[in-house]
Amino acid sequence: MIKFNIKLLVLSFLLLISLRPLQSAEMVDPIKVNWSFKGLTGTFDRASLQRGFQVYKEVCASCHSMQYLSYRNLGEPGGPEFSEQEVKAIAASFEIEDGPDSQGEMFTRPGKPSDKFKNPYPNVQAATAANGGAYPPDMSVLVKARKGGANYIYSVLVGYEDPPPGVTLDDGVYYNKYMAGNKIKMPNNLMDGLVEYADGTQSTVDQMAKDVTTFLAWAAEPELEERHRTGVKVIIYLILLTTLVYLSMKKIWSRIDTEV
């Protein structure tokens, strides 16, 4: 009798929870992509990260900052793993403001690997003003800052559509199936063949969206590969230790007549 009641209650509770998707009806669920970095042992696709950086550099970086990343990160293990020369060359291709020098003057110099990624705008207000009143968010942790993570970012990149009949859009506003509220101020910047991949990969919209999302996922969680690797080791170690402690416990408690 008691057990039955409890089960019934638990069941009704679970039913309640399953109603949850109903409340976010206005938004379409993001496309599920089988990312290589998913799962317990997931790692980033190195080539995709390098291509993704190229898309970021040639397309996104003209509006979006990535202020928490440094050029040296591009050569670190678990990331795009550009060679030391490549990282130096990438950094040197940016003019970085430095100073003040001994005369009190600011000056510019070629970037070094230790420099942070160069911001496209001097400040948030300038970025907002230049983009029709919508600040292009910093992309350092963007994947972690959006519900749905990488799937959501990818979906938005490929989710541009003509607005359905009856929806009118202001100037500089675009219709996107996956964006909350369906209205986005970022234009659809990706078109087939936009970038020329060094490794010869076809630069379709889908390919570029996947590559740049992979790059952003790494940027948000540069520790992901190390975290997964360490995690597997830690869990194996803990399971072994738990087994040993369990056996010790059984042995110790066998001295008395009580079950443990």
């Binding site: 928490y68 993570g149 520790e223 975290r227 995690g231 869990i235 402690v245």
Partner: protein, 419 residues
């Protein structure tokens, strides 16, 4: 307390112990007679101690790198995640550690509710425990503010605004708490200071909690008083220490699962957006462990009423030992109370669930029903059921679950089934 007087073997040990009886204390802790029938629900005390130490150690390291300034806090957290050696690990242990801490404390509290551990003579242990819980909530709330993300900022705004519901002086109190006219840099600074202080207050209370526990000794699944030491008890070391170690390791496996494989699943993605006083998130939700109280708060259309009800939901627990009229401690022998116990568990889970949902439609109705039931449980069910309920026969001791002649075998089996 230990019966036999402890005498250190070495001369130096004796010399020291005569001046400060630390060795006697150590001997008391290892010999401490513990009921031998404690089940795994009793291992959460040790697990909670581990959680507290983990939070303090990781927190101290994080504080070496964190900057408590509105303009720098978010960036300093990213600095920890990216540039500090194993900073990501330390921070994820700390942030998930808070959740694991609350998971363990809720199990610990409900263990106490089921087995009547709050009842005489353990009221003071219970009350100290509740004070620890209150401080934990304060520490967790302030800790969540420190990364200075959107949820940090707006969570702080919502919670501190609760004090503005106080008649006449509410506004002034809120301004005083903020140190400004809105949640701002001074607020962040003082929250950091208090967030660093509170764990040490908790540590002090934990010492009192354990001290108070060692006066009457542990309750146990059968809920009866036992003679100590006796056939019913085992020395704390090695029997309980090894069992606690085993349970702790299982707990650590789950903990590690969160830290290494889904470190952000318990947080809110909005907290990776830097705080922006000009943009309000669509739904402001606290961390999961505060959701039931958030649901109670929002179930009342009046702000002051909601605040009073929310605080009452916690403070009613302080008088619980006197609301429960039952002579029997353990719910194992309380067929009616046992059912209400599980209904309360479901009720609190439901409140937690609706706390995460928008306060409208069916969720608001559920929140109200859940809130009313929560208070009914403590104000009506506990005194009335304790008074009217016909309890099952309670055994005389743990080793010999015998009451009056006759149904010995069946009773023994019954106890074993349930315990």
């Amino acid at each position: 307390m230990s019966d036999h007087e402890y005498v250190p073997k070495s001369k130096a040990g004796k010399w020291f112990n005569d001046r400060l009886p630390l060795l006697t204390l150590g001997a008391h802790l290892t010999d401490y007679p513990t009921p031998k029938n404690l089940n795994y629900w009793w291992t959460f005390g040790g697990i909670l101690t581990f959680c507290l130490i983990t939070q303090i150690v990781t927190g101290i390291v994080l504080a070496m790198h964190y900057v408590a300034h509105a303009d720098l806090a978010f960036a300093s957290v990213e600095h920890i995640m990216r540039d500090v050696n194993y900073g990501w690990l330390i921070r994820y242990i700390h942030s998930n550690g808070a959740s694991m801490f609350f998971l363990a404390v809720y199990i610990h509290i409900f263990r106490s509710l089921f087995y009547g551990s709050y009842k005489s003579p353990r009221e003071v242990i219970w009350i100290i425990g509740l004070m620890i819980y209150l401080l934990m909530m304060a520490a967790a709330f302030m800790g969540y503010v420190l990364p200075w993300g959107q949820m940090s900022f707006w969570g702080a705004t919502v919670i501190t605004n609760l004090f503005s519901a106080i008649p006449l002086v509410g506004e002034s109190i809120t301004t005083w708490l903020w140190g400004a006219y809105s949640v701002d840099n001074p607020t962040l600074n003082r929250f950091f200071s208090l967030h660093y202080l509170i764990p040490f207050l908790i540590l002090g209370l934990v010492v009192l909690h354990i001290w108070a526990l060692h006066v009457p000794g542990n309750n146990n699944p059968v809920g009866i008083d036992i003679k100590k030491p006796s056939k019913d008890t085992v020395p704390f070391h090695p029997y309980i220490t090894i069992k606690d170690a085993f349970a702790l390791l299982v707990f650590m496996i789950i903990f590690a699962g969160f830290v290494f494989f889904t470190p952000n699943v318990l947080g809110h993605s909005d907290n990776y957006i830097p705080a922006n006083p000009l943009v309000t998130p669509a739904h402001i939700v606290p961390e999961w462990y505060l959701l039931p109280f958030y649901a109670i708060l929002r179930s009342v259309p009046d702000k002051l009423g909601g605040v009073i009800l929310m605080f009452s939901a916690i403070f009613i627990l302080f008088v619980l030992p006197w609301l429960d009229t039952s002579k029997v401690r353990s719910a194992v022998f309380r067929p009616i109370y046992r059912q209400f116990f599980w209904i309360l568990v479901i009720d609190v889970l439901m409140l937690g669930y609706v706390g995460a949902m928008p306060a409208e439609g069916i969720y608001l109705i559920l929140a109200r029903v859940g809130t009313v039931y929560y208070f009914l449980h403590f104000i009506v069910v506990m005194p009335v059921v304790g008074y009217l309920e016909k309890t099952d026969p309670v055994p005389m001791s743990i080793s010999e679950p015998v009451l009056t002649g006759g149904a010995e075998a069946s009773l023994a089996r019954k106890v074993n089934d349930k315990v």
